[in-house]
Amino acid sequence: MNILELRNLKKYFATQKAVDDISFNVEQGGIFGLLGPNGAGKTTLIRMITGIFYPDSGEILFNGKKFNGLNDSHFIGYMPEERGLYKKMTIGEQALYLARLKGLSKADATTQIKKWFVKFGMETWWNKKVEDLSKGMSQKLQFVTTILHNPSLIILDEPFSGLDPVNANLIKDEIFNLAKNGSTIIFSTHRMEQVEEICNHIILVNKGKKILDGTISNVKQEFKENIYSIGVQALPEHLMTHIFEVVKHNPNQILLKLAAGTQPNDVLSYFINHHLQVNSFNEVLPSLNDIFIRLVENTETARVFQNQN
């Protein structure tokens, strides 16, 4: 079931088309990656999903019903990229305030906060002020305030920036936990290695348009370039053949690009027939990073080309 469906969403500002006809679905309980270069329209898209902006046209369905930013706000937890907390407020009061604005009663909010503070080792922070916290510490606090009211849709914009590996892992584990318990997570970032590790499904937006949509494995299959790595005992002097070309020589390993129509088995037979000892043979899929750069760079050049004409 889809917790969120976006249909032909548009939001134009005076100077640019921030979101130009984007549609996608987010499945319940998954971790969804929203990717795109700077200025692609991610924040605008997120602001429409969180009810901060109204779309110019198109519709957002939340749990199958038309999304209403104010009534549905307590189902949503949003952690913006630019973290924001009241600097002069104590941490306990701050968390309590934000939780109560999401509709929790004072008692419920207090229990929830205590529970999460213990979990994240923040019990002693209650009476400290936000301005006394380091960047990483306030990040943890921001994360806790985002999920306190047990939202069914959690939107995290660059949640790991500024965190040390220990705390980043803490939050990463919590993200997996939340997803396992049925929350849906939309995760926006530029860090592709995190996306590969965490997300099930991704979309890529650029210049206000969706340019990629699919599960990670599908996307990788779609963008694979028939490159295989083959581990050999001794490097052959010459590999003259029409069935593949050598992309790269490494010690004891060669990267091959298969010609169209060639099957992996043909490559293996070639090596066997030439009495070359094969230690390993596997397909090399492109990293998301490569795909991202390729897609975004392509549109850049296309745009420049258009402008020149």
Binding site: R47, T50, G51, I52, L70, S73, H74, I76, Y78, M79, P80, E82, R83, G84, L85, Y86, K87, K88, M89, Y97, L98, R100, L101, K102, T145
Partner: protein, 430 residues
């Protein structure tokens, strides 16, 4: 509790709980009272500055050799056998700060006289010298007409006109001075409060914007609720401050005589000087009791709230479009400060002439009415003016809150470049 209530209570308690709130609440009246006490003390102690020594070359025998008595700051000395030219070179060396050369003249046509001095002479000295000369000439003229100046002095009158204000509840002795003072004080207080609390609203909004908390907040509440919550919360802080001051004022009035009964007595006798201080004190008390205090209090509350809400919403809109840059904020605030200052200027006129057309205009125009109407509060304001003024203020407040709410909604999430006025107007009416 609904969301706007939560926001109001956060804004309220985060300010009231601060130590600085208590300090300013207690310190401000002490500073104001101390300031006035210092002024009174200086005035009572008389001027300690040196007397100006003025020489008079009396060739017209205006004073007949009898120099006028020295006043508090001028001492006159007759100089003989000098001309204007010869003395001009000498008077400074002889310790005079100035001199007047009076040539012989016919008493009916006084020539133009000049006061020579080394530097610019103060207005009070000029007036003192002028009065002295006028008196001397008047005496001469009276004698010429055969009037005895002493007899004339005995018939001159200096009555003390009282004021009785007749209302339905009966007649009370009034005091124009007290009425003037109360009007002026109310006007100034509203003026100050609007600026102080308005800027607090602006700073709060800018803080929310620059600390990026605004984005988290507006994903939970409507921007309008966030704005109104802040405005109402800070307004409640202002009312609390008033309440504390009023309680303190009454408390002091009750407690002061208890602590030292002879202190009041001392004040009365010390300031007596010429003996009319006690009558002055009774006049002031009479003046206060003649004022419609309940009406003043209610109108003060209404105009404080109306004026505050009107301007606070404007300040909030400005706060939402500026970044952390103080200079930028000041530039944007200037157009808002203009009507407040204009109101203050009209108010100073209105307390002197409460029914002039300028005062009436100022007390109806909603951007100046909170200040100006308080300046007219102790005078009789026609009912239609009250109704128009209150109605216009409420309409203006509703319109501005609607308008600024729309600017605020867009501005609070805009980072980077400061929008132009044109863009802001576009946001407001889009």
């Amino acid at each position: 509790m609904n969301k706007i209530g939560l926001i109001v209570s956060r804004e309220y308690f985060s300010r009231v709980k601060k130590r600085s709130f208590l300090i300013t609440t207690l310190l401000v009246p002490i500073i104001i009272i101390g300031f006035y006490a210092a002024i009174v003390a200086i005035t009572l102690s008389g001027s300690s500055s040196e007397k100006e020594k003025i020489a008079i070359i009396d060739n017209a025998h205006l004073f007949d050799g009898k120099m006028p008595e020295s006043s508090s700051d001028i001492h006159f000395q007759e100089v003989k056998n000098e001309t204007e030219q010869s003395f001009t070179e000498k008077y400074k060396g002889q310790g005079y700060s100035g001199f007047i050369f009076i040539p012989p003249f016919n008493i009916d046509s006084v020539p133009h006289l000049s006061l020579h001095s080394g530097a610019s002479i103060s207005i009070s000295t000029m007036m003192g010298v002028e009065n002295t000369l006028n008196k001397a000439i008047e005496n001469k003229r009276m004698k010429a007409l055969g009037i005895d100046p002493e007899k004339f002095a005995s018939i001159s009158s200096d009555i003390d006109l009282g004021n009785i204000i007749d209302t339905k509840e009966g007649s009370k002795k009034g005091n124009a001075g007290v009425a003037y003072g109360v009007s002026f004080a109310c006007g100034i207080l509203i003026y100050m409060m609007m600026i102080i609390y308005g800027t607090q609203v602006m700073r709060g909004v800018t803080e929310e914007k620059t600390s990026r908390i605004a984005e988290v907040m507006v994903s939970s509440v409507k921007p309008f609720e966030l704005m109104m919550g802040k405005i109402l919360g800070i307004g409640a802080v202002g009312l609390t401050q008033f309440a504390i001051w009023i309680i303190l004022l009454f408390g002091l009035q009750l407690l002061l005589p208890l602590f030292s009964p002879d202190l009041m007595h001392q004040i009365q006798t010390a300031s007596a000087g010429s003996g009319d201080a006690s009558s002055m004190a009774t006049k002031v008390t009479q003046g206060f009791s003649s004022l419609p205090l309940a009406k003043i209090a209610i109108s003060f509350l209404f105009y404080f709230l109306g004026g505050y809400l009107t301007y606070a919403s404007l300040f909030a809109a400005i706060g939402s479009v500026v970044s952390d840059d103080q200079q930028e904020a000041q530039q944007m605030v200037f157009p808002i400060m203009m009507p407040i200052i204009l109101g203050f200027v009209i108010m100073t006129k209105a307390v002197n002439d409460p029914n002039s057309s300028l005062a009436v205009f100022g007390s109806l125009f909603p951007l100046t009415s909170p200040i100006v109407m308080m300046g007219r509060i102790t005078y009789d304001v026609p009912l239609w003016q009250w109704i128009t003024s209150i109605g216009l203020l409420i309409l203006c407040f509703i319109f501005l809150v609607w308008l600024t709410g729309r600017i605020y909604r867009t501005g609070i999430l805009m980072y980077g470049k400061k929008p132009s006025w044109k863009e802001m107007i576009k946001w407001a009416f889009r």
